[in-house]
């Protein structure tokens, strides 16, 4: 499949703990796919394996049929937003994007286009330390869009967005999918997800619980997404909020594992 994401038997163990357990699913172009699961379900670890940041213990993750590290120009194929805090507080927003553009060999004028697309042009010359969480999310999104990628991977992109930002994000992601791109986003906000995604992948305790269209999940039982989510993930084996997803402040970055 071209420009999709293939996760095939993907496994990650940290010592005795299995964070991701033989996960297999496909993410197709042209739709928005939600990646859902309780804290500690292995969502962030899975996304990081897809992006070549974490080495799988077993299985593989392919983008456009290749491992991330084997892509010739990864920024032109995949855009990723992983965490709201991935910026130097003393650096200006525009400079953050210049660094990505220069390292990836992308044209500088593209920076103005993505700043405009995420609505951050006015704040681009301010230092990131003064940004709100929502502005950081927008800057992260701008960085992901810089290479005009066919695949987007977003980890909790709705965190910290106000209602307007939320609507903007929904329109943006649906627009990108309508252009034929592959969009995979993890989120905790189920009501927001229900309005944004076409397909869902649900994991709990590192294992796949559901992968398929949203309408099939909720339609079959006449449930809300929330009820279906709780039914699929309320398993004695699934743990609470001790996983990699729970780290939210910058200082906790090296605290887990």
């Amino acid at each position: 499949m071209s420009a999709g994401i293939t996760v095939d038997g993907l496994t990650k163990r940290y010592g005795p703990v299995t964070a991701v357990d033989r996960l297999t699913f496909e993410v197709e172009p042209g739709v928005v796919t939600g990646f859902l699961g309780p804290n500690g379900a292995g969502k962030t670890t899975t996304l990081r394996m897809v992006l070549g940041l974490v080495t799988p213990t077993g299985g593989r993750a392919l983008i456009d049929g290749r491992r991330y590290g084997d892509l010739d120009q990864p920024r032109r194929v995949v855009g990723a937003v992983l965490e709201a805090t991935g910026f130097h507080p003393g650096r200006r927003g525009r400079d953050h994007l210049r660094i990505i553009a220069d390292a990836a060999g992308l044209p500088r004028p593209r920076i103005e286009e993505v700043l405009d697309r995420v609505g951050l042009t006015d704040a681009a010359d301010r230092r990131v330390g003064g940004y709100s969480l929502g502005m950081r999310q927008r800057l992260g999104l701008a960085g992901a869009l810089l290479g005009d990628p066919r695949v987007l991977v977003l980890d909790e992109p709705a965190n910290g967005l106000d209602p307007v930002g939320m609507v903007d994000l929904r329109d943006l992601l649906r627009g990108l999918a309508a252009e034929g791109r592959t969009v995979l986003m993890s989120s905790h906000m189920l009501s927001e997800v229900a309005q944004t995604v076409d397909k869902v992948v649900i994991v709990a305790a590192g294992r796949l619980r559901y992968a398929g269209p949203l309408t099939e999940l909720t339609g079959a039982h006449g449930e809300t997404l929330e009820a279906a989510f709780l039914r699929l993930t309320s398993d004695p084996g699934s743990d609470s909020d001790t996983g990699p997803d729970s780290a939210t402040d910058a200082t906790a970055s090296s605290a887990h594992h």
């Binding site: 940041l53 995949v78 990723a80 910026f87 130097h88 003393g90 990505i100 220069d102 390292a103 990836a104």
Partner: protein, 246 residues
């Protein structure tokens, strides 16, 4: 590789903290030389000139912390994620950092030397002593100090890549210099001169006026320091390849 080097320079140019750190180096040299002259317990002879300019080498402590910022600073602010997403071949990223940080540390050493020479010459003239500009030992001390600056920046890149925690890396490296090489070094006697900071002192501390412990001969110290630099650079490269970024 060229674009990665330019990117590392751009990363440095767009923040302020590394420059404040490097700015501290000529200030320390100025304070050190002034203190030495004002304490007035040594004649301002050729040995004193070398002793004064040996402060250039001591600023390696600053360039080491500067080097630590290269990788550990990226982990601190989680920009390492974007860096590796753009350039999945991590070895090239680390190589570019080693080159760029060593080069800027060398420039910092050069600035410290010029400031040190100016300050020393001014003090000498103030005390009515003529400054011997042609003194070979002084120039060798300066050259050794500049190389020591560059080597410690590269070692700092390695320490930062190994430890990854910014605070941890700075604490470990400064504790190493002060406690292990300074105090434990006196207990293990002759072995201490083979340790990195003492090897740097042998290369850049002139006539040994900065230290009480026995140092290696200058060029042996340089060779030992070069081996440490290569070892830390190799460690930085190999550990960065495999580690998970989470």
């Amino acid at each position: 590789m060229n674009s990665l080097i330019k990117t590392e320079v751009l990363k440095l140019r767009t923040i302020r903290s590394p420059w404040l750190l490097l700015l501290a180096a000529p200030l320390l040299v100025t304070a050190g030389i002034s203190g030495m002259v004002l304490s007035g317990n040594k004649p301002l002879d050729a040995a004193a000139q070398s002793g004064a300019l040996a402060h250039v080498g001591l600023t390696s402590l600053f360039t080491m912390v500067f080097g630590i910022l290269a990788v550990a600073g990226e982990y601190r602010h989680r920009t390492i994620t974007d860096t590796y997403l753009t350039t999945p071949s991590r070895g090239r990223v680390i190589s570019a950092k080693l080159l760029v940080y060593a080069a800027f540390a060398m420039l910092s050493g050069l600035v410290s030397s010029l400031v040190g020479l100016g300050v020393a010459a001014a003090w000498w003239s103030d005390k009515g002593v003529s400054f011997a500009w042609g003194d070979t030992a002084m120039w060798t001390t300066i050259g050794g100090g500049i190389v020591w600056n560059a080597a410690f920046a590269a070692i700092g890149v390695g320490v930062g890549a190994l430890v990854r925690s910014l605070v941890g890396a700075i604490a470990v490296s400064l504790a190493w210099v002060a406690l292990v090489e300074g105090i434990v070094g006196q207990l293990i006697g002759g072995l201490a001169r083979w340790l990195p900071f003492n090897a740097g002192q042998a290369l850049g501390a002139g006539t040994g006026s900065m230290t009480t412990s026995h140092l290696l001969p200058r060029w042996d110290g340089g060779l030992v320091l070069a081996l440490y630099t290569l070892a830390f650079a190799a460690l930085a490269l190999t550990t960065s390849m495999r580690r998970d970024v989470s």
